[in-house]
Subunit: 321 residues, 4 copies
């Protein structure tokens, strides 16, 4: 029951937020393990959620795989060397997830999202800053780049359905079939459940992008199953759904009413409702026009520019060491 309400409330692309739902219960979820490390110097916290069984996947509402979350509170503020320490930490985490089946690899990097909507333009921004090498290696060989060993990097910004009339997944699948990369890295702006994580969290997952993820609500995912090659997903929450924010505040109100002495009368009355009824009440009060609306900070332009640079530098480090 509780689950229903919480599920309604959730709308999050972050495994680490999904995990938090269970924290109060202090239960261990079978098939889900979690590791945390904190670097005091850089103030970066890395959380690794591993979902190893179907049961764990069901409990978490996310597919089996590894989800690494890097929380860097400083990421949302400006910095003179463009947060090189975050790029370095991120490069290290990305490297650990990358398939290492070959010495030299061909990698397609996909910048999902809409470059015309500021908080959704993270993916296009990252691809715009990457060191693209595939065409040089194919035309002149790797020595043209002064290296013995080099990965072939290609990049694409597929755009969104309103611009192309096509699913991003159709476009990417076509390109993968044609150019046969060893794996795909997809960058996407995510929706978080709470504003607290906006623009200071990066999630890396080896499970790809799943339907309904991201700001733009991709209907089809980008996964190893759909593309035929492994897909690493890198995401940053840049928006919260408008309905989620309202809902969360309502939850706070109800909780406050139940706990406060002064409001005991309300609390008692509300206790007459079960979770489903409360859920229904909230749903009615949230105006339906909030669907299709998102919440984002007013300085999102500078934030996206900065985080995009941090991620593209991390990819350059991880892919061309």
């Amino acid at each position: 029951m509780e689950r229903t309400l919480e599920h309604f409330q959730s709308r999050t692309d972050l495994a680490v937020e999904e995990r938090e739902r269970f924290e109060d219960d202090d239960v261990e979820i079978s098939g889900v393990s979690i590791e945390e490390e904190f670097d005091e110097e850089t103030e970066i916290k890395v959380t690794r959620v591993m979902i190893t069984t179907e049961k764990g996947a069901k409990a978490m509402g996310k597919p089996k795989g590894t989800y690494i979350t890097l929380e860097a509170p400083n990421m949302s503020v400006p910095d003179e060397d463009y947060h090189r320490e975050i790029s370095a930490a991120l490069a290290k985490q990305i490297s650990q997830l990358l398939p290492k089946n070959k010495d030299e690899q061909s990698i397609l990097i996909v910048g999902l999202g809409n470059r015309e909507i500021t908080p959704d333009s993270l993916g296009p921004d990252v691809v715009g800053n990457l060191l693209i090498t595939r065409h040089i290696v194919e035309e002149y060989g790797k020595l043209a780049l002064g290296r013995d060993k080099i990965n072939k990097i290609s990049g694409i910004v597929p755009g969104v359905m309103a611009q192309t009339g096509m699913e991003a997944s159709e476009i990417v699948r076509g390109i993968v079939d044609e150019t046969k990369p060893d794996y795909v890295i997809a960058i996407d702006a995510l929706a978080a459940r709470s504003t607290r994580r906006l623009n200071r969290t990066i999630q890396i997952a080896d499970t790809g992008i799943h339907p309904g993820s991201g700001v733009g609500n991709h209907r089809n995912g980008l996964t190893e199953k759909s593309l035929g090659v492994p897909v690493i997903a890198i995401g940053v929450p840049t928006v919260v759904d408008a309905a989620t924010i309202v809902n969360d505040t309502m939850e706070n109100l109800i909780e406050a009413m139940e706990q406060s002495n002064q409001l005991k009368g309300i609390g008692n009355t509300l206790n007459l409702f079960n979770a489903t009824e409360k859920h229904q009440l909230i749903r009615e009060l949230i105006a339906p026009h909030l669907n299709g609306m998102f919440v984002t900070p007013k300085d999102i332009d500078e934030t996206i520019k900065r985080i995009g640079f941090t991620i593209s530098e991390a990819l350059n480090m991880a892919l061309q060491p």
Copy 2:
């Protein structure tokens, strides 16, 4: 008392929304008159709020002047001839507000807002589509444009403080002092109180832009007093403040509780609070980090492009008939 709560709730740049606060009371506010007309063919509703006395200004929380609102539900949907009927209706309304002291006038059009934030880029978009003539007339004379009579149009996109380190008002005042236009037209993206009016309402006012208006919260206004020449303001609500949306839903909840039989207990308890206490309760429940956040639709990119074109066409019609 009620006023306090409602004022907290309001955060609107639209006179027509301000006026609505008084509708239930069905009182006439002294010094405020209102006219409405509706065109059945185009489905455009024009509301004209005239604030004629200081008392009316105080009641409305807006300076004396004329506020014309044009509501065009179709504006937020695509159209083959780019809503020429809305441009025409808007041109007519703009023309009525323009100063007509001279036969040929020099007009500076200011595109306020941040071109890097989609819902705040309306002003820059409009200026980008205008027919700019001042430099041609100054260099070659009006015959160069094949006309007997021509207004000299100039345009500026001053940017926002985080980009320039200057108030938009400082930049515009400097340019007005230097180029001495007869009047200024300022275009700005506005914040509405409710999502219902987003992207389907255009407000034209002869009072200029006032502090705290707009998405970007200009600290200083653009008014006849500050610039020395009349200022016509054209605004479209493209965002709602995140705190406003939460607050409105909470109001709905409290109202529902007070009215519902089932929730009578809560209603009664809440009746023990006065407006200020309710206001305080809500304020505590709204997370402070919602400040500096805005709500906007997911298709805001296409909407801004379309409305920007509608307004620039209207200005071209009104200024070079």
Copy 3:
């Protein structure tokens, strides 16, 4: 012999410029027919070059097919209704070239070129203004668009090799294989031989895009052979190669020398050279660093915006009548 020199000089994507090489000779080229019409009211000249045999193709240096050129001198100047008359004339010509095998068709429109280089951003600009319908028809059916009969339009901006590491042709072939459109329309900025035609000529061809065409020098073409579906190409010359401009002026100099009485001495001397030697002389004098450079007008930003709009409106008319 003459041919060699002229071939060196040519670097044109326009069939109509290619045809001009033969005009002085006043010969008919076998396998090449030509029709011209001129509309006095709109001042639009339409030339239709049909290459019907392999011999004609060889003489023209262009593949067999129909090349329609629409010359509209007004296109490069601003206009109040955005040159609707040119859009209409263009729509008519496009319609005549479109495959008509089915009642409702699925069409992929490809905006070739680099959106970051102003004269090369024509293709991306056009795709940005199109009425995209494929996703709506696929999700809600054609009635959602209020029509009985509708074409499914999709669009893609593949980017250039320096940005993606991939040939545009690889990307487009992948997408065609995946989404199976009935045909492809490709929009591209072209290189002209002379500045006279820049930004006032539109070429439509049913032969696709061929290697070496366009500003960006695509190495692989987009043709029915390479994509498996017919390809209509729409191009506008927006640049001239820097080497071409220098070469042309040199040709003028040599010609002037040969003809002028005053310069007869030079003319006589030059007569001692044959075409190949003259060609060699010119090649040496043209600095090699001019390769990879282009010439374009200083107001190319406004021109591209205007022509892009003219073409996208024409496509909207032709594809959704």
Copy 4:
């Protein structure tokens, strides 16, 4: 006489190119001194031309002042740390030219040029990457930025006349009068005489921007005389005028003819013309439509992005050490 021809030929904003005209003569120009230094490690060559008398100014066709040229051949190629060594060398040179009358200064940085034309967007690009501080210092004091001593940096992108209807100088003068900076730094894309210096030379001058400079041909300059405060100009040649390129090649042809044995006949004939007649001949052969056209490399998008970053980093170093 020679001078006339060479003046026609010149169209350069670079003092160092102006100086080269005199090199063959190996004369010293009175009132013009020159210093050069070369750093073997970074391969950066710094040339300092000081024009100290009116006579020198007249000979050079440039106002009295200091012109520093930094030539960095690597600047036009990509680099992993974004050419930090060039930024550092540039910061050092900029620092030496800055007025040092006060401990803390207020500086307005002007990004001249058209952001919609790739090679002319250097100025807007640089301003977009700057550390802007004026508004923070004015609102919260310098401690808000964690420093004892801080310069107040503001920035403006005035746009070009076709977009604003105003001279950039009118806009900047208005803003200077209103915000009273201690001095102005203006960034501009320049026209060079030869393609050899494109995108690898940065010129810093303490004389401001003069009429006719830059890609966009500003009619009025930005100088201490016109603005009332010192103006430092930073420029990079990103284009060559189309007429200049043709003219240069013609000069090569004539020179070759005069020298070659084989072409002696022509040389002799040409000797019958004086410089003015030759000049006239060339002018006739250069098509008039080349005016208003520029030549630029095909990879100008990446180059501008890179050089813009190098300059903004240099300004950040020089202004907030």
